[in-house]
């Protein structure tokens, strides 16, 4: 009862209230309240996640497992960032309330947290994603083979869109006059048609499918059909 039934009842009531709030004006404020609780609860979830990160890395360090030095660096980076952010180290007070030392924003320019965000977090995150440029290109080179109609369509479309995007790409069809009937073969026009027509219609079908999937999965959770989030026993 306490372990399964009550959580299922909570899930059903909260979910149904949130759906009804969209259709009923008097209970719309409930949605705002519940979303605030959700945000606060998310902070506790972060604490749980941080606890897990610390426990796993401390275990690795204490057992001197392979790569324990990196675990120590992870913990060091975590605690330095956390202390700088929560302690508002180097944050100037808000210009309107200079008498209140803690009134400034935690991400104010010049603060320690701002420094870590701009000079550690942002370059690392951006470079991580930038390296994908190399991997995506090499994967495409190895995997893309025009050995059937579907693969050829994919390859040709990607090639046309990429070529059209380069500065010299449009020069390939510069000779075709804008007013002529052949203007539809200009690489810019082809790119526009591919992106705005074919890409839109395919994405639209996929999005409709995803929406139906999300609705059915959510309903299964709210109706208690899917109880996997409660775990075993």
């Amino acid at each position: 009862m306490l372990k399964r039934t009550i959580p299922l009842i909570i899930a059903s009531i909260v979910g149904i209230v949130l759906i009804l709030a969209k259709f009923s004006h008097p209970i719309q404020s409930w949605e705002t309240e519940v979303v605030m609780w959700f945000d606060i609860l998310a902070v506790f979830a972060f604490v749980l996640g941080a606890g897990n990160l610390n426990l796993n890395n401390l275990k690795k360090i204490s057992e001197r497992k392979a790569g324990w030095g990196y675990a120590a660096i992870t913990l060091l980076a975590f605690w330095i960032t956390l202390i700088c952010g929560i302690g508002k180290l180097g944050v100037p007070p808000n210009e309107k309330y200079l008498a209140y030392a803690w009134s400034g924003s935690y991400e104010a320019e010049g603060s320690a947290f701002w420094w870590i965000f701009n000079y550690v977090y942002v370059p690392l995150a951006a470079t991580m994603f930038a390296t994908l440029a190399f991997y995506i290109s090499s994967a495409a080179f190895r995997a893309f083979r025009a050995n059937n109609v579907e693969a050829s369509l994919l390859l040709l479309t990607a090639l046309l869109v990429l070529v059209a995007q380069t500065s010299s790409g449009p020069m390939l069809t510069d000779q075709i006059p804008e007013e002529s009937a052949w203007a539809i073969f200009k690489i810019d026009t082809i790119r526009g048609t591919l992106v705005n027509l074919f890409n839109t219609l395919g994405t639209r079908a996929i999005m409709i499918g995803i929406a139906l999937g999300v609705v059915s999965t959510s309903l299964k959770v709210l109706m208690g059909v899917d109880q996997s989030y409660l775990g075993g026993d």
Binding site: I10, G209, L230
Partner: protein, 294 residues
């Protein structure tokens, strides 16, 4: 020593020498800041904040080099190179940068949650007097919002799973958490991805221009949009066997989806390349100050 190692050591030494020369001669990575003094009219208290200014203004009155920011640019550049070094293979520089990224990004999410949700909503509503005296002086709330005790109780129940016994109690807030997510997603996805998408696909197949003439281009465009979307949806419809007419329509759907994936791939490649260009721009301009004259 292996010949390749010797070559790498020479390359690294040359690169180091070039960077040192560049740092001294061109002030690589130097960031200049200008002061801004803020004075409180009531209390007479003042505070100085510093804002970045372009290098061309480095000789202006009051402008000075910011050592923390300059160090930051150098650190960012070294982190950028450390991540790129993974392209040659796994190495200690990459692993150090990766570990720092994991630690700092976890803490970053926590700090944002702490100040925006925990302090900004929870503490500000439950203890408004305290909030106004410390971090939210402009807030006009006076009475505590006792309903905030509910998320506090749920939060404590959530953390209870770390206890040796009674961990099941965390299922209650977890059920709330999942239900809020599912409830919000159900409505928003149904509205934005289902209703709006269908609404946008209902287009006139025969279109006439303002002067009354037949608009072939728009008619063709709309027809392809409507019929193409239906073909793609047919491919995703598994309640009927894909044979005969349905099979042919779903085949067209596959072809159209392949074009979509091709465009999607090209756009993803371009977004990654623009990030790469951004990093290169940072290394060459912000850090090495290439293009600057002595």
């Amino acid at each position: 020593m292996k010949q390749s190692n010797v070559v790498w050591i020479v390359v690294m030494l040359l690169a180091g020498a070039y960077l040192s020369w560049r740092a001294v001669s061109y002030q690589a990575g130097a960031v200049y800041v200008a002061p801004k003094i803020v004075v409180d009219a009531d209390s007479g208290k003042s505070f100085t904040t510093w804002s970045k200014v372009p290098k061309v203004e480095s000789n202006n009155l009051g402008v000075e080099i910011s050592w923390p920011r300059t160090l930051g640019i150098w650190l960012s550049a070294l982190f950028t190179l450390a991540i790129f070094s993974f392209l040659f293979g796994d190495n200690v520089f990459y692993k150090v940068a990766e570990s720092i990224f994991v630690g700092s990004s976890a803490a970053y999410a926590m700090v944002v949650g702490f100040w925006s949700a925990f302090m900004g909503i929870f503490v500000a509503q439950l203890a408004p007097q305290f909030a106004q005296k410390t971090f939210m002086p402009g807030d006009d709330r006076t009475e505590p919002e006792w309903l905030m005790l509910i998320p506090l109780a749920m939060g404590i129940m959530f953390l209870w799973r770390l206890m040796p016994t009674g961990g099941w109690i965390s299922r209650w807030p977890l059920a709330f958490f999942i239900a809020v997510f599912a409830g919000l997603r159900l409505v928003s996805h149904f509205e934005a991805d289902f209703v709006v998408q269908i609404k946008s696909t209902i287009l006139p197949l025969i279109v006439f221009a303002e002067d009354g003439s037949f608009d072939l281009r728009t008619s063709l465009w709309n027809s392809i949009m409507v019929l193409g979307t239906l073909c793609c949806l047919t491919y995703f419809f598994f309640s009927v066997e894909h044979t005969g007419v349905v099979g042919k329509i779903s085949r067209v759907g596959i072809y159209l989806l392949m074009i979509t994936f091709g465009v999607g791939f090209a756009l993803t490649v371009m977004s990654r390349y623009s990030l790469l260009i951004g990093r290169m721009n940072f290394l060459l301009k912000d850090w090495l100050n290439l293009g600057a004259s002595l």
